[in-house]
Symmetry: C2
Subunit: 240 residues, 2 copies
């Protein structure tokens, strides 16, 4: 008995590895499914040793992550993936280059997240992200395309964001809810009417600390990408 | 700048899809790592639409999951994986066939779990698993190989195990801690001195409900495989 050749969603992952796993979990939890076979097939390249994205964008390292990511994209395409997703905001600096390396679509987490903010009628979007994403102005460029304005943290707040991402989450150490809430409040003080978790490591902390209900103005880029992935693959979102 | 070709651990997943994600998460949490690049590279085939394993083993369905799994194994081997793991006990009915389809090793979750029980000086191992695993006597065969005896649930208890696996966990519905504890107590009443979570869906519930500390005699097959995967890949286990 031979089954039809499966089509997979290709996940360009490992940047970081835990965010990749949370992305998969979100896709499963948000899919309308009552048995294994109702779920999406995902082929996940959780490639942890890809060189650090932020260090390269900031010029602190000459090791480019692009070559590994482009090669992973090609491997996933060859293995039969119908489209690709990249659950990492910082790596979207390379979105166009990776997209050019393959003939299947690569969804854009930045575009989907900014669209989600626009859908909530937000005008001024506060961005919590790595120094790499901020320096590359990845969200700023996309916000302008949608007629929205973008609010970046002041240098002291940005330093705190990086300390949470690199010093804690990537290091497997805990983050406290009040540290995250303090970041959200700083962005509100700066006039943000939506706050983007524009680094998937922050999504991990936000989710672990169950901060969603208390902060409805926070738009999680990882969850936004998970929802879009389900829809793009032709599956339904779970309603309850 | 070109990086060395990465070696991946190949994860034959999707059986079921959530257990696969929990396996990845366990590997990340149990690895001694302080930055992304300290982690294992994993190539994860989360192939949800593979036909149900238990239904095939029980003769309720003619759709064999073997062909998909063997093809996935070959695809992972071609993509450069150094060895394979299959985070599903029921599917280990096909272990030998999948192993014969590739020239890289496929770790055996049943063998690793029984070894872990032997390492705890257990003699009578209670098995909580799908009806497929029970009917195939997958754990019984392995226990005899290590000189241990195997305790299977009575029919009423086994019916409850299946209702938790299929009616709840695979359906995305909650399980209560006292339901799990009742299963553990039944196996203790039958004289088990170690209780194996011999279905990775039960591992998901056990983990979600944080039952580990209260039930030190429970040996989780999924966690055992995660630990072995880290060691086999040459990485260190996190000590704290």
């Amino acid at each position: 008995m031979c089954n039809v050749e499966p089509k997979f969603v290709g996940v360009l992952g490992g940047v970081g590895p835990m965010a990749t796993v949370y992305f998969e979990q979100m896709v499963l939890e948000l899919t309308d499914a009552s048995r294994d076979q109702d779920h999406l097939n995902m082929l996940v390249c959780n490639h942890a040793t890809i060189p650090d994205r932020t260090a390269f964008i900031l010029g602190e390292s000459k090791l480019s992550p692009l070559f590994d990511m482009a090669r992973d994209a090609q491997m996933l395409a060859r293995a039969g993936c119908g489209f690709l997703v990249l659950p990492c905001n910082t790596a979207h600096f390379f979105h166009e280059h990776i997209q050019n390396a393959v003939s299947i679509p690569l969804l854009n987490i930045i575009e989907e997240t900014v669209k989600a903010c626009a859908g909530q009628n937000a005008k001024r979007i506060g961005i919590l992200a790595t120094a790499g994403t901020i320096k590359a102005d990845t969200y700023g460029i996309m916000c302008r395309r949608f007629g929205l304005s973008c609010v970046y943290p002041d240098p002291a707040t940005q330093k705190q964001v990086m300390s949470i991402i690199y010093g804690r989450i990537k290091a497997g150490k805990p983050v406290r809810a009040k540290e995250m809430a303090a970041l959200y409040n700083r962005m509100r003080e700066e006039g943000s009417d939506a706050i983007v978790l524009g680094c998937t490591e922050l999504s991990v902390a936000h989710r672990d600390l169950e901060l969603h209900a208390a902060h409805p103005d926070v738009v999680d880029s990882l969850e936004t990408l998970a929802r879009r992935t389900i829809e793009y693959a032709g599956k339904k979102l779970r309603t309850t």
